[in-house]
């Protein structure tokens, strides 16, 4: 245990004795990183470090690291982006994430193990016994009272979003999780840690994570990102989620972000932002799959392969009169398209859409109508019957469910 190792001294053959005050690891060096340096008590302000290679023997009875030279060399570098991490100074007592169990807690103690000539960091002790152990100087609470967290499953954050950008000092264990799970985890972290986590993820995953976050947390994290990251991530978010986020920014920030975004996403977002957030237009999405009327099912299938990649909601395919007018003719489901004979015209399997929403009707009302329709989504059309977007059952549930349920409600189209 680290708490035990911190009661050791480094002693060299000349009998010089220095108290060990910290151990250092290279955090990016594999699942169980080896100790790279002993930090010992020095005379000055900076504590000198003894490289692990100088350690010849570990004497557990006398609590000694036998070293070739105990005077130590220069202190450890103190750049924030250095991969060298001090176990006591930075890891002990810090918040750590267990990726395997998707939980966050404080590291009460760290389990070390001798492996050949090296001493390795193996696991984190989060048990109550470790608190007792540290407070009583190791007299009580010697064995952990709950299972250790294997360091292999731990993601360690320093609460500095700038580090995430450089990205080279992480094990990226968090990448194993789904975006929604990462988003839930960030809610148990301080927002600087949450931002660091987002910045170390690939942009498309970061965008998905941001979409899933609680709105307040999303705003906090977004505002800690630099301008370039903001732009890159919002561009990759679903248009309706991006519009919701932009809708909550200060006006000047919203305007400058819209000006910086590439044309296509900016257009999609602007189209959504013209409606107040408490209307059907404000909760709809305008990323959906559309197809022109007059095609056969086979032709429609072929074209869908290109257009089906981007939208989250693909189950309903909306049939339009033509790309300019965008008048809604009807809807076909993916099932219709896969089942129907390939030479049949679309119109034969199409359902004429009877239920539509107006963009200006209240969001509450629209959401209820979607739920009552028992459809997965209801299209939003303007006075001339032009398709503007669609309100999915996800949007509807988010609108009318009590706030406590929202985080728990399953999302169908993610």
């Amino acid at each position: 245990m680290l708490s035990e190792a911190l009661r050791y001294s480094a002693v060299d053959s000349g009998g010089r004795r220095c108290k060990v005050v910290d151990l250092a690891i290279d955090v990016a060096s594999g699942p169980h990183p080896a100790i790279t340096d002993l930090v010992v008590q020095g005379n000055g302000a900076a504590s000198p470090a003894i490289p692990w290679d100088a350690v010849t023997r570990i004497d557990e009875a006398k609590r000694i690291f036998a070293v070739t030279d105990a005077s130590g060399s220069s202190p450890l570098p103190d750049q924030p982006d250095d991969p060298i991490v001090r176990l006591r100074g930075e890891v002990l007592d810090a918040l750590i994430i267990d990726v395997a169990q998707r939980r966050v807690t404080r590291a009460n103690d760290l389990a070390l193990a001798v492996d050949g000539r090296r001493l390795k960091l193996c696991a984190v002790d989060v048990s109550a016994a470790s608190v007792v152990r540290r407070l009583t100087g190791g007299r009580f609470g010697r064995s952990p009272s709950s299972p250790l967290w294997d360091w292999r499953d731990v993601e360690f954050l320093r609460g500095n979003p700038d580090l995430g950008l450089r990205g080279r000092h992480y094990n990226h264990r968090i990448d194993r999780l789904r975006p929604a799970e990462i988003a839930r985890l960030t809610e148990h972290l301080p927002y600087l840690h949450a931002t660091e986590l987002v910045t170390m993820l690939p942009p498309h995953i970061a965008a998905d994570v941001l979409e899933e976050m609680d709105p307040d947390r999303q705003l906090q994290v977004y505002e800690e990102l630099d301008a370039e990251q903001q732009c890159r991530i919002v561009e990759l978010m679903a248009a309706d989620a991006a519009a919701d986020l932009i809708g909550r920014l200060d006006r000047d920030d919203a305007a400058s972000l819209l000006a910086r975004l590439p044309k296509a996403p900016a257009t999609r977002i602007v189209e959504l932002l013209q409606y107040p957030s408490d209307t059907a237009g404000g909760i709809m999405t305008n990323e959906m799959v559309v197809v022109r009327e007059g095609l056969t099912i086979a032709e429609a299938q072929a074209e869908l392969r290109n257009s089906i990649r981007r939208p989250d909601f693909v189950y309903f395919v909306y049939v339009l009169d033509n790309p300019r007018n965008r008048r809604l003719r009807g809807v076909v489901t993916l099932r219709d398209l896969l089942e129907g004979g390939s030479e049949r015209p679309l119109e034969e399997v199409m359902t004429q859409t009877l239920i539509t929403l107006a963009p200006t009707e209240s969001a509450e009302n629209a959401a209820r109508r979607v739920v009552e329709s028992e459809l997965l989504a209801v299209p939003v059309v303007d006075d001339d019957g032009r398709l503007l977007g669609t309100v999915t059952v996800d949007d509807a549930v988010e609108q009318i469910a009590p706030s406590g349920w929202r985080a728990e409600a399953p999302r169908l189209f993610i």
Binding site: D93, G247, V270, A302
Partner: protein, 467 residues
């Protein structure tokens, strides 16, 4: 049959239809708050953007943790101290209250800033920066002190309820259930709103003060002309006044609560208003309690005030039933608010120190330790307050001693942390706040040592300043 290659354009994708014209910003209408964008030849007003709140509403919306922390400071025990100060010395100590309020505002502003800048509660930071031992010490002392205070709040609720003719056996359990249900089932936003409404109960004090017809000239002199009386009791009362004005749970609550509210670093500016308004109101209400009791009890020589309920009772013959009942309603609101804030602050701190999930927005399943400790404190406090013949006053003396031990330590940690630029960056303390902050720490430390010293000596029967 497959569609022939090159037959594109039949499928209409969003991107192809809209790429023709990117949105260009036309401009903003500064007063109406709408941004206009030109898209495919059309001018579109973005109505979906956040509307900046205008007028007085804007100021109301930033109120939250600061006002609640300020209001919760005027709890049952504090009302007793203020009443006693007013009854014994009239307006003579109002200046000390003014200085105490300024110190409190400086400290609370630093704490809120620390919370916003670091995104962490005070116990989070103490654990991370100063280690396990300090955080366990802080939690243990706070648990004992806040436990005692929670008990005294429920005693206050019972006493206030009986003053308006409701049995405490009914009022205390109902109050406990209300407070518990609110925090466990409520969201942060709802809880904050209801707390703010509870804080409105304090406006009964100015009314009670006016009903007491004080001499406003004397009030002004007492507030702005510092006077010292060369007797030990007077000096001790100043110290006690400082002790009730600045309490550790206020700092712990405000920081955790600011973090729970999720205020972004960029939006810290307006949050200062929350703290300053909160502390100003807190100071004003304390002042009105002193004035109400000074104008009545002091003049009539009724100086033996040991609890807030005593004060309310003593007001009846001299200021009328209305003033007395207003006082009781204020006490009820104050105790109820503090009975919710204190266990909440404690639950936050325990969860922070040991890394458990925390936050009012969680549900019981996800925040077992957070809500578990909250529930235990509320239930135990309410149950213990119903024990007949409880020595509440001597209990409060001990609580004050514990808080006295904790306060300088907490203040020292806050000052060190809020000057750590690696942690708070640009939101670090300015020179002025540092002078005020360290000054407060020095005065508080002297005051606490003096208070604890006399209490310790009194325990062994020595009264250096006379009894």
């Amino acid at each position: 049959m497959n569609a022939a290659p090159g037959q594109s354009g039949t499928i209409e994708q969003e991107e192809t239809s809209t790429n023709a014209a990117a949105p260009t910003l036309v401009g903003t209408q500064p007063r109406r708050g709408a941004i206009q964008v030109r898209l495919r030849g059309r001018r579109i007003r973005l109505r979906g953007l956040r509307r900046e709140p205008v007028g007085p509403l804007r100021w109301l919306l930033v109120l939250g943790p600061g006002v609640i922390a300020g209001a919760a400071a005027n709890d049952a025990g504090s009302i007793a101290t203020y009443s006693s100060v007013g009854a014994t010395y009239g307006y003579a100590l109002l200046w000390a209250l003014l200085l105490g309020t300024i110190s409190l505002a400086v400290v609370q502003e630093m704490t809120a800033r620390l919370g916003v800048a670091s995104g962490r509660g005070l116990l989070d930071l103490i654990r991370e920066r100063y280690g396990l031992a300090w955080s366990v010490f802080a939690v243990a002392v706070m648990l004992a002190a806040n436990g005692g205070l929670i008990l005294s709040e429920f005693v206050g609720i019972g006493a206030a309820a009986e003053l308006v003719g409701v049995s405490r056996l009914l009022a205390v359990p109902v109050a406990a259930a209300l407070v518990w249900g609110l925090v466990v089932f409520g969201s942060y936003a709802n809880v904050e709103k209801i707390f703010l409404v509870m804080a409105l109960a304090f406006f009964t004090y100015p009314v009670a003060a006016f009903l007491a017809h004080p001499q406003w000239r004397d009030v002004a002199r007492g507030t702005f002309v510092p006077t010292l009386q060369p007797n030990a009791e007077f000096i001790l009362l100043i110290v006690a006044l400082l002790g009730t004005t600045l309490t550790p749970y206020q700092q712990l609550f405000e920081e955790s609560s600011v973090v729970d509210k999720g205020i972004a670093r960029k939006h810290y500016g307006p949050e200062r208003i929350d703290t300053y308004v909160g502390m100003a109101l807190s100071g004003l209400m304390a002042g009105f309690i002193v004035i109400a009791t000074a104008a009545t009890l002091h003049i009539h020589g009724a100086t033996n005030i040991n609890s807030a309920a005593d004060a309310a009772r003593a007001l009846r013959p001299v200021a009328g039933a209305a003033a007395s009942e207003l006082f009781a309603v204020g006490l009820l609101g104050a105790s109820l608010l503090a009975a919710a804030v204190l266990p909440l602050a404690t639950a936050y701190s325990i969860s922070e120190a040991f890394g458990f999930p925390k936050g009012v927005n969680l549900d019981f399943r996800h925040g077992r330790v957070f809500f578990g400790s909250f529930t235990t404190l509320v239930a135990a406090g309410a149950a213990a307050s119903l024990i007949p013949g409880l020595p509440v006053i001597s209990l409060l003396v001990w609580v004050q001693a514990l808080n006295g031990v904790l306060l300088p330590i907490i203040l020292l940690f806050i000052l060190l942390l809020v000057n750590d630029r690696t942690l708070v960056g640009e939101l670090a303390n300015s020179r002025l706040t540092n002078v005020l902050g360290w000054g407060t720490l020095v005065v508080v430390t002297i005051a606490v040592v003096a208070l604890l010293g006399t209490q310790a000596l009194a325990l062994v029967g020595i009264y250096p300043f006379g009894k």
